[in-house]
Subunit: 142 residues, 4 copies
């Protein structure tokens, strides 16, 4: 896909996310900002606390993975898959709403590299990530 | 901690995990094998599918993080924190029970490096990970 | 490429490595073992010490990158490129010969994931790595 | 160390780097910018080309490692060690001077997380990295 993703393409990706079961289980919401970056909001839910009452790192990893994946997917007509991603946990997240945002570092013909940032509602940088996503050339599910 | 972790220490870690809310939300079970490696079992639950009906990568990352963290924690009397971890997704996990196991690569005075493997019930290698964990010197919660 | 790499293919890769300037600058030697894994030997050279007289981490990273790259390249007829790699430094390498070995974790149609280990002459595990390599479909240089 | 690093501390680190053998072997120069970020300049040297006449990824990794290490070391009175680092190669570097810069993402009591960027002389982003560095509490070598 040359140029900026179309509004239809982004709306389709949001719809796909919202149709997934995990979006409801985790309680995450997706939107795209003006730069076609995926923004995930998560409202604090104690069901995802680990035993020190911080949000479990797996939730942070899930948000970062999502932010990278949907930012990458915005740039390709078909399906992408996560190849690998890296997570750095900087400070604990404690009873806070969280927001993760992805950014494209490099978009190639088939491979997309993204960085991701996760902040608490107060704006504190909680975790960062980066990842590689492969455009498969296969279409999205109907 | 010199030498192998005591059975009491490992039992305490399992108890802590089982007391966490996220263990129930995800439906994960922890045990330690004879080499004091943390083994996490997850019974397939469609609530964690993404929209192609594969298990969401966030669940895989959560299992790998857990496997590394609890394997690292077995080697220190107090609390550890995840500094960073890396995840490689090799094949999709589709409607399958999963198992993640951690292994110590290096245990230093304060830093522990682990590797993690995640397999499907059929034994297929689904994902791998590695991570760094910091022993804080603080005790576990009572 | 289906099946095991041919001896000709591996010999060609060794020849390409030996024709590179960096192989002479670093003083590294490549061979393939029976499992078509790339094995790099480096004879200790104080020119690569950092200021504490340990071997610089950049040499270790170079060996790990090479071991992954050439192990990946063994499985594709054409050229591969390094997408990303991760390095864990476990213990310092001090005035020692070093050996790095790559292993294929997953070989896909276009993407290859490898792990790498670097040991000192005495067999001590000094560093580990993992990486992603993309088969470009372009031929090797003549 | 509270507050900004002293000019003396940074000058001492530059001096240590310049005293290392690897700095001469690679031909890299270190300075600190106004934000106490380590800036490494490397003048293109064909001795580090791989066999396609691009600069070898090991040189890029060495520059990124250095940029992270010296940026981290600026914040602690004593010695730091590289725990792990991750490298993403975005575009090839071909017969170009290169510059790597480190930035602190999080500076804790003992652990420092940095990000690193490597650009060609023309300003193109060639590679990125991130890493963890441990402050050992040991003094620098005399």
């Amino acid at each position: 896909m040359k140029g900026a993703p179309s509004a239809e393409h982004l709306a389709r990706l949001v719809e796909l996310f919202e149709s997934s079961r995990m979006s409801k289980t985790f309680g995450m919401a997706l939107r795209y900002d003006d730069a076609a970056r995926a923004v995930f909001d998560w409202r604090y839910d104690p069901a995802f606390d680990h035993f020190l009452d911080d949000v479990h790192g797996g939730v942070l990893a899930t948000m970062l993975d999502n932010a990278g994946w949907f930012t990458a997917a915005a740039g390709y007509p078909g399906w992408v898959v996560t190849v690998e991603f890296h997570v750095r946990l900087l400070v604990p997240a404690k009873r806070e709403d969280l927001q993760a945002v992805g950014s494209v570092l490099r978009r190639g013909q088939r491979l997309c590299t993204t960085t991701m940032e996760l902040r608490s509602a107060s704006g504190r940088l909680v975790a960062t990530g980066s990842g590689t996503f492969l455009a498969t050339g296969r279409g999205h599910p109907e």
